[in-house]
Subunit: 316 residues, 2 copies
């Protein structure tokens, strides 16, 4: 594996800007490309805000250089070829359209060096479906982050049918070097892992409101006053373990039968114009609670604080 | 509504001990009853630990009396009749068996004063199914907490067919007075709201491991490095709002179609001896990560810290 020095970021939206900040903060040179002209002032402002989050999170403060210094290692390109011709790792954040990705990967692999590892941030598409026509399909993998990528440690890694397993290991090592928590899936599934888990929760969250059981405000309150607080500390398996003093099997013995009844009682919610109207109206009602705070700022400040807390509790 | 001065706690397991600590901490006299003899030393030790959590959480420190002082207001009874004959509010935490609850509510309402409000901690049963034969069904409601009840703010409130709507309001006020965040459901459903949301997540968490997509360790890592961190701050509706800079409707417009594909791809996991064996083995493997920490202590310390953080962020 070549030493990674320069990273290409393809796609400079919110996700691309977040990745760019992380790569810069960790000391890499970053080449950024987007098919639409990038407003450099706006982009750099976003990067600077992300860098400040990373500084706030960094207990060691070993990377205590200023955002200004770090930004010197950022270069913005108007042509894909120029952006990727000498990079060692590419993080692709293009729109979630199969035809777009298929075309893009053909171009990327035609222009980038042979050793370059190419990771896709795709939240739902399978690498197998867009690597086939590429020149070097074996170097293409999924490296799916969670929003905002500069803060949330999760990266989901999985190869397509043609991906070299060694590349998955190298990518995993690289993400660890960035301070991420990569998980390597055994096989490709639609939506990977975290988005499927999240979608399962959303389905019942939407269904309960559609069925008139409670409001969107109640659903959000139920999560943030209840299980959501625990999920920041432990996942579903450890939470099940803790649900019974005698452990996991006994917890399933007690909770399994009623849980099965709840599962059987759940509706298979489907989106429609009507449900979107209803759920949006309920969300707008809920938003009035938050009119005095900036939601994005509050989320990112909260994430930094919870990540620090997890370090103190020796959970990370 | 009579002023609530004395609270009866029926059922002195982990949930009962947690409620007891909260009622004591908030200045109420508490009468505790359990059909099995209560080991007073063990019970009081548990209460003291819970009281220390509450002290740690209390920013105002207005309740700065010692656990010893507070415990003077605790009385343990061997007979249900003696325990509930002069209480103003009852929190019932009996086993989750319909026949047990039906019998118990007949007895409670035969012994307690006519004005007493009686709330059930039942996690899955419907009040309508166990209030019918009681002497005062109109005073019985669901008041479902989330574990651990002395820390997690959520209380789910809903009446049965025979419950007086005024009682729901009074119970909601009482829980607010205790510092809880009660949500009042519009109608009874199996598992209420939070347990259904949690069960939806568990179903996919179990299914992904059963299907061999990833390990239990990966699932838990995906949550605690990803969406779990956000759910401690915002629920599913606000998270969807934040998923797109243009708001909820635009987020659904983009995420709805792939999400529907993920839903359609999900398996309807069912518990069996084989799945329990598999998932327990995976959980045991995961537990080796945590061998140096006390999971319950870490969870409760973490919950106190996250609740404080939410106050600082003006989210509660």
């Amino acid at each position: 594996m070549e030493v990674i020095k320069t990273v290409g970021v393809v796609g400079a939206g919110v996700i691309g800007a977040s990745w760019t900040a992380l790569f810069l903060y960790k000391g890499f040179k970053v080449n950024v490309y987007d098919p639409y002209p990038i407003d450099e002032a706006v982009f750099k402002k976003r990067i600077s805000a992300n860098l400040n989050d990373l500084l706030a999170l960094d207990q060691n403060a070993e990377h205590s250089y200023s955002p200004q210094d770090v930004l010197l290692h950022l270069e913005i390109f108007n042509h894909l070829k120029d952006a990727v011709s000498d990079v060692d790792f590419i993080q692709e954040n293009a729109p979630e359209r199969l035809d777009v990705k298929q075309q893009l990967y053909q171009e990327i692999t035609a222009y980038c060096p042979e050793h370059t590892i190419i990771a896709s941030s795709s939240s739902g598409l399978k690498v197998s479906d867009f690597q086939k026509e590429a020149l070097h399909p074996e170097r293409i993998l999924l490296g799916h982050p969670f929003n905002p990528p500069h803060l949330l440690p999760l990266v989901e890694i999985v190869g397509g049918n043609l991906t070299d397993p060694q590349i998955l290991k190298q990518a995993s090592e690289f993400y660890k070097q960035l301070g991420k928590n990569p998980i390597v899936l055994n096989k490709e599934v639609k939506g990977h892992v975290a988005n499927r888990l999240q979608a399962a929760l959303w389905r019942e969250a939407f269904s309960l409101v559609e069925q008139g059981v409670c409001s969107a405000e109640d659903v959000d309150g139920a999560i943030t006053s209840g299980p959501g607080l625990r999920w920041a500390l432990f996942g579903p398996y450890i939470n099940m373990q803790l649900a019974n003093q005698k452990g996991f099997k006994e917890a399933i013995h007690h909770l399994g039968p009623p849980m099965t009844e709840w599962w059987n009682d759940m509706h298979a919610f489907q989106h429609s114009d009507e449900t979107t109207e209803l759920l949006e109206a309920q969300t707008n009602q809920l938003l009035t609670q938050y009119k005095d705070i900036d939601l994005y700022e509050t989320r990112d400040k909260g994430l930094v604080d919870i990540l620090k807390l997890r370090q103190q509790l020796k959970l990370d």
